[in-house]
Symmetry: C2
Subunit: 232 residues, 2 copies
Amino acid sequence: MKTLVVCSGGLDSVSLAHRLAGEHELDCLLSFDYGQRHRKELGFAALCAQRLNVPHQIIDIGQIGRGLSGSALTDSIDVPDGHYAEDTMRVTVVPNRNAIMLAIAFGLAAAHKAEAVATAVHGGDHFIYPDCRPAFIDTFQTMQDRALDGYARVHLHAPYLHFSKADIVCDGAKYGTPFAETWSCYKGGERHCGRCGTCVERREAFHLSGHPDPTDYEDDDFWLVALRRANA
Amino acid sequence: MKTLVVCSGGLDSVSLAHRLAGEHELDCLLSFDYGQRHRKELGFAALCAQRLNVPHQIIDIGQIGRGLSGSALTDSIDVPDGHYAEDTMRVTVVPNRNAIMLAIAFGLAAAHKAEAVATAVHGGDHFIYPDCRPAFIDTFQTMQDRALDGYARVHLHAPYLHFSKADIVCDGAKYGTPFAETWSCYKGGERHCGRCGTCVERREAFHLSGHPDPTDYEDDDFWLVALRRANA
């Protein structure tokens, strides 16, 4: 099944691209530049496309990102430290971001005659991002079936939907994903900060998976503090 | 109900903006520049926003438009002459365009705390554009309810869904829409060509509505030929 993979350059979507390259016919990688601070991710997406020998398209939705204000991912608000489970992480929600990116991906897939769009949404995203939950994924497919009726049938493939991030690490390792060439940190630094929600989540996922974490963090110990605080 | 109106500058969406200004609390007009040839439309959308005294935002989705290739609206393929009912008009379909634009509009509405997004999709669009049909509109609302769950409740308002284009002319007249300041032609000329699908449809709608058509067409008689051909 010829598949377009939405790939940010993060751990989840690069693992997904490697899985798809092993299991399906990979059509291309699609990334979105929405004015996020951590553009380093996009470089890792480009590297992944090179490695898997498929085209890489970056769609600039920066103007839309600026319109979706109120989120720390695109604004000058400070990115909060801590675990994803904390209320402060709600500031990282960009309303409707996943719905917008998937709608664009479906249009491009239909135009390129791809048969599927793959997204790396996973269990860990559910409780904070409503547009990453199973109920959203189901209704999105139904909406797209209607929107493209008579022109194309594009399948939404979300194999990590019920995976934890630790499960993704295991899956990525199985398909030979070079984790050091993926990016998670929400801050704009040279190294992973080790303190923001995604760094803590990444560190914890490697720990739980039992796979060694090749990431170079500025703060190597903060994740345990954050985890204890979230579980308190 | 504070409403964002998706407004291209065409007859339908300018009439919709005037209706909403009369009935609801108009929040802003939102237009999309997707590299369409008939950018004259966008100027009429800006004029409409000025007239109704609301902000106007133009989102550039040109890069996406270029990716959605195979359509005469953005490509160098000739725009076909004739009535919308003809097979040749299928070339004007941009896959998923409406789904993409509405997903972006919902994201912006949620960010701006608007309560509704209004779209001018109408009965005449149904048979050619699958993402303008009632079944699509219903599932789109369901998808958005899930995508924004817990953050916002944005209503999709499509009052022309079961209107013919002639009904829209009557409605637009009722709300004082200055039809001469709307654009329909798919070709890039100074005047409405009178021969493309949207010109023929516009001319016919005024005829059926009984309202005078203020449009200056290059070819004033072609619509009757096209209509006879479509009905043959």
